[in-house]
Symmetry: C2
DNA sequence: TTGTATGCGTTATCAC
DNA sequence: GTGATAACGCATACAA
């Protein structure tokens, strides 16, 4: 009889109903070919009838590997981890892989705790997602399963990290503005201690150097990731440099604030000033008036690629280093580019 | 020797190092009292030395119950499931419970698939989170583990569902406005086919009836959950009823749009018009100018309570029906209430 | 107090 | 082609 007489049916139940041994039933259900077609049919029928589902725990215990991976995150809002998770689930496909989620909330102690818990659950691998894409401590080399960092950069070069190519993304935005004839481009962005901020500014500077253009708006405006900052910074830029004909923002949230100030001052977008954001965070980018041209970091794709590499690593193909994945320009009305 | 000679240490390894049998080691580690203090010390020391972590799979296989629960969600953005998840993790505390997350993306087929997968993983219970708080099909009575619905209402009254008390939340908002002397209150909200929309309107109507006040702004303005709609609807309201002195919005996102229109038309908030939102979605509620007074649905608390009930159910204390959990008014500047 | 034996549900090995 | 048997890592009933 099966578990506790009345519970979920077990392989033994199926075998009994089919009139074969558990071993044979196992082979039949797992599609091994050392089993007679007639027998297989009987077993499958019995399994169907009992709505049999193999106990993944028992299976993992004997096989030594789970079909579960751990996702260790720190961004409590799920702003980055959810897209990464969705991308991972996509890549997993019907592989019957499950994701154990643990949110360490940026606390190193809690993070260590969760790593141990996830390992106790015998996860086959770990994906670490950052609360920002900044460099962050490695969870260590003594972890007995493969680890990849997605939207996070491990300080240990022996780890494998996946980051969006913010620098390239910024260049895409600027090329777009440049191609539309804009020559007085200002930049309003977030805190200077974000890798994303710095990389986007690097892309900006490289582009301006390449085409021989000065930065407009007097200087790069560093602030916070908030609409509030966008509103204020737009005032500064307009006051200091009324000729500005384009503003490239370090995030859509900032761009949303900029939009408000421009509207309040009667500046037309994109006619007077073209606007480009970053993130393609749709609750902002599709909701401003006009909707934002913006740079999408392809986080879902990043999650998919990271998990593919994780599986490769689980399969023995270890890799190391930092991979920058391309961004994508999403053109809407705020730049006048279509 | 343990797994594959060199892998993760097992209980047997610990026992060997401590010079006792695996059974004794097990008892010592699990805090059973039929073991001599000296022996326990030896075992603990050995476990420490080997960094031993019990294999949760094996433990579950023998005990028959896992320390894992499944979280089945449909809101791809994580807008509701993440707070619920955090609340659940809080309630779990150090119980070493893990959460297996599956995102069905609103697809019933995928949902069934994930339920089966989660069950195959032997989850001890299931939390179902909706993409909205609307009524949704039950995942069925044939699920062999307890299920609770959080921010979702199962169509089956035998299920246990937890919902925010939107009606009560709306009343809190209105009482607040009323107590501040506002008497011409309009309502701008989302689609009429959302339970949340309807319940908030119900609360509105009940309140207005109670105090004998007519609705201002001509009628309830139903639309979408978007800033865009908020901007337009505010125009309608102001045009139809210029005397309005308060606008209660069905969401912060809508309120953010309303704010923009009010600013554009030179209407002062809260002096001319007081504004109250709903959701306390902080990227909106703390970022508008002025910041929004709004109703918080306490989703994290809802998640905590739902998971507590789930554990009770796992422990045998089944419950059924629908529980409405109170909202909380968060007072900021947009209502002039502080 | 400690150790031996057994079983959880499944798969793999190896006889038959 | 099929079925005993052992093993995965752990916990427990029971014997010592």
């Amino acid at each position: 009889m099966g578990r506790r007489g009345s519970g979920t049916p077990t392989l033994t139940d199926v075998a009994a109903l089919a009139g074969v041994s558990p071993a044979t039933a196992s082979k039949a259900l797992n599609g091994r070919d050392e089993v007679a077609p007639a027998t297989r049919a009987k077993v499958l029928e019995a399994a169907e009838k009992l709505a049999f589902r193999p106990n993944a725990l028992a299976r993992s215990l004997v096989s030594g590997n789970t079909s579960t991976i751990g996702l260790l995150t720190s961004d409590s809002g799920g702003r980055f981890s959810i897209p990464v998770l969705l991308g991972a689930e996509n890549a997993l496909g019907d592989n019957q892989i499950s994701v154990l989620l643990a949110d360490a909330r940026g606390d190193a102690i809690r993070e260590r705790h969760y790593v141990r818990t996830l390992l106790a659950q015998q996860v086959a691998g770990l994906i670490v997602v950052g609360e920002s894409s900044n460099r962050r401590p490695s969870i260590g080399r003594d972890v007995p399963v493969p680890v990849v960092y997605a939207y996070a950069e491990s300080t240990d070069p022996q780890d494998l990290s996946f980051l969006p190519d913010d620098r390239g993304g910024a260049k895409m935005a600027l090329e777009h503005l440049y191609s539309l004839g804009r020559r007085k481009i200002a930049h309003i962005t977030g805190p200077v201690d974000y890798r994303a901020t710095v990389e986007r500014v690097n892309g900006l500077n490289e582009f301006l150097d390449d085409v021989g253009l000065p930065l407009a708006g007097r200087e790069v405006r560093y602030g916070e990731w908030s609409q509030r900052w966008g509103r204020h910074a737009a005032e500064f830029v307009l006051n200091d440099d009324p000729d500005v004909d384009a503003i490239f923002c370090g995030s859509d949230q900032v761009a949303a604030g900029v939009t408000e100030t421009l509207a309040a001052r009667g500046v037309r977008v994109p006619d007077d000033i073209a606007l480009v954001g970053f993130d393609n965070w749709e609750i902002f980018s599709t909701e401003t008036s006009p909707p934002l041209t913006t740079v999408d970091m392809n986080l879902q794709r990043l999650g998919a690629i990271a998990s593919q590499h994780l599986f490769a690593a689980i399969g023995g193909e270890q890799a190391t280093g930092i991979r920058h994945l391309p961004c994508r320009l999403v053109i809407r009305d705020s730049s006048g580019g279509r």
